[in-house]
Assembly symmetry: C2
Homo-oligomer: 397 residues x 2
């Protein structure tokens, strides 16, 4: 009867740490998510050690709860996003996505090569600079009630495109690493299936739901519309991982489809308690992965600072250039919104470590960079959104 | 980026199986929970094997999700239960709890000894007949909107007392097994701390909340009352496991405390989506533990039938005798409400197996009995509640 004790204590610690962190952050006029990540760092292995490194490995209960948390978060963001609005910003989002991948990849590669790595390794390292993690930006936008701003639509659309490109790029650098050139035909199949999945699910699903969503209420269960869309959310999250995309892409699509239903408003309200319970796990676990010991030497700090600056500047430049059509102020917001790398950079670094491409030190620095960008973004973004509060009109493209 | 794929697929399968099972059950005019348990049996290792035995071991993500699910379920049941109402049925609930432990323990022991086991082993086996698992009954009562009936209050109160006694009894049979007599002083300490915990938390917490609950809204977060009571729920669930009680006892207390707040109604609404997402995991995982292969031989079926009948009759007798003061009809409802053994019987059986007291066969039969009582109860209870629909007045004790 006692085996449940340890895990319940851990759940309690993570959940309470998140609440305390968020409260402190909000009293300091920072977004709550900053406090949750910081709380994770405090209770994690680096400081208090109330969460052990073993507890946050992939596939552990905490890791799965964190995954469910971020999936639900992007689902709820999708619920507030209409396909029509995304279409309107399609061109800008595409540019932001493409430039936001190319510029960090180029700058990361040049830096790595300049630091003495061969080109093959350098490109792998560069791949870790690429992928934006939409979770953190989405949370900030949602916290500030800014999801209806045009910049938010651009950021979300670009994050989807960004994820496709990052996946392709990762496929290329991994195959280059395995020796041999890369298989263009295979790459086109991967690209085609990802794009096909998103277009088919996004357009098709939205059309079905707009046409008729009374069937969601057919089942006997009192919560049937919610249960059905949650099932769709889990299903699409799984399908998108199957195609090599992040789970949150599928979750976002599921939310966007559900936003076309008559029950959208109820669903939005019902999703809030789910987020309150589960998203703290994502942010606290993210924070607990920050390994402060890696910052022990001056040299490491310097290298980390350099890598982080390159990561921020390159992504900002890509997002800014891509969205200049919205005006300079909006372009800065979009640029910063794309900065967080979060767990995607961590995944690339883990692949590199497993493949023997990265040393332990490069690995630690890439991970720290990913998490630093995640920590830095929320306050800057919140400040920018408050400074430029005028809701932008949707441009007509 | 792909490790998340498997677990997402499993989450999807479990969640969808639960919805389909519940829907079919409800169309057959059975409680949804029967369908969820049956769905677990279908997708579990016994039949389709979409859930593997390794995935439902203690401490796995699915196991933790199931635990969170049942904790939230009992929390929400507590939210619908006022301390005043429980106090009114205190005497009856106490009698039901005590007789509902003693009669199954006696009958189980006699049967085991009659089947050829020594008294030491027989008492251990008998302990597996004792503990009611409130989760299944609570779900049926909630599904039918019957939580306000006097029988429900008695069942819930008795389940708390039952859990304390079961824990003490288990302590005794384990120490008897270790050779040596049992330590009465230690036992009294265990009893005292469990009772003290429940009384202190229940009475004290309820008083604090009734006196003032505006502080729940002090934090900046929009969902602060919910977040705070969920934190209390996780904390009390953990504390009760620490004292040897089931986690759901602490969760029920947390809900009962929260039911005294001004925000009770909002909290009740916000808890519904959490239940919709998470309780299916508990019931599907429960069902997936049913090992149909153990029913391969006629002899095993016969033994299982016998054990199950003893388990049902003995608990029914205890509950019925204990609650006769409410009238015969209500007494039958209370009796059946106490029948499910669910996961508690499974835990006792696992302890027995680990201690070498139980053979594989006895283990499998005890587990199957626990789950059969869980399967049998919901339809009977639903039928009884519909047949005797007159809401009973609260007796004045």
């Amino acid at each position: 009867m006692h085996h449940a004790s340890d895990i319940l204590l851990t759940l309690f610690v993570v959940f309470v740490a998140a609440q305390i962190g968020a409260e402190i952050a909000q009293r300091l006029r920072l977004p709550g998510v900053v406090g949750e990540i910081a709380a994770g760092c405090v209770v994690g292995p680096s400081l208090l050690g109330w969460i052990t490194p073993e507890q946050i490995l992939p596939g552990t209960p905490l890791d799965v709860l964190a995954e469910i948390g971020v999936v639900l978060l992007l689902f709820s963001v999708g619920l507030e996003t209409r396909l029509e609005d995304l279409k309107k910003v399609g061109k800008v989002a595409f540019l932001v996505g493409v430039l936001g991948v190319l510029i960090p990849f180029a700058m990361g590669g040049v830096w790595a090569h300049g630091s003495g790595f061969a080109w093959g390794k350098s490109l792998f390292i560069a791949a870790a600079f690429v992928a934006t993690s939409a979770g953190i930006t989405a949370r900030v936008l949602q916290e500030l009630g800014a999801l209806q701003r045009v910049e938010s639509k651009v950021i979300l659309g670009a994050a989807v495109i960004d994820d496709i490109l990052a996946m392709l790029l990762l496929g290329v650098v991994v195959s280059l690493q395995d020796g041999g050139g890369f298989d263009l035909a295979n790459l086109l199949v991967v690209l085609g299936s990802a794009v096909g999945f998103i277009v088919l699910v996004g357009l098709g699903g939205a059309r079905v739901m707009r046409w008729n969503s009374t069937w969601l209420e057919k089942p006997h269960s009192a919560h049937s519309p919610l249960a059905i869309v949650l099932a769709i959310c889990l299903g699409l999250a799984w399908l998108s991982t199957l195609l090599g995309l992040a789970a949150i892409i599928g979750a976002f699509l599921a939310g966007m489809i559900a936003s076309e239903t008559r029950q959208q408003h109820t669903l939005e309200k019902q999703t809030q308690p789910l987020l309150a319970l589960l998203t703290p796990f994502f942010f606290v676990i993210t924070g607990s992965k920050i390994d402060l010991a890696q910052l022990g030497s001056g040299e490491a700090v310097l290298m980390l600072a350099m890598v982080t600056v390159i990561a921020i500047v390159s992504k900002l430049a890509g997002g800014w250039l891509g969205s200049l059509a919205l005006g300079r102020r909006s372009a800065v917001i979009v640029g910063f919104g794309m900065v967080p790398r979060g767990e995607v950079g961590v995944v690339v670094a883990s692949l590199g470590l497993a493949a023997g491409v990265f040393s332990d030190r490069i690995y630690a620095i890439i991970v720290a960079m990913s998490l630093l960008t995640a920590m830095v973004t929320p306050p800057v973004l919140a400040w920018l959104l408050k400074r430029y509060p005028v809701p932008q009109e949707m441009p007509d493209h």
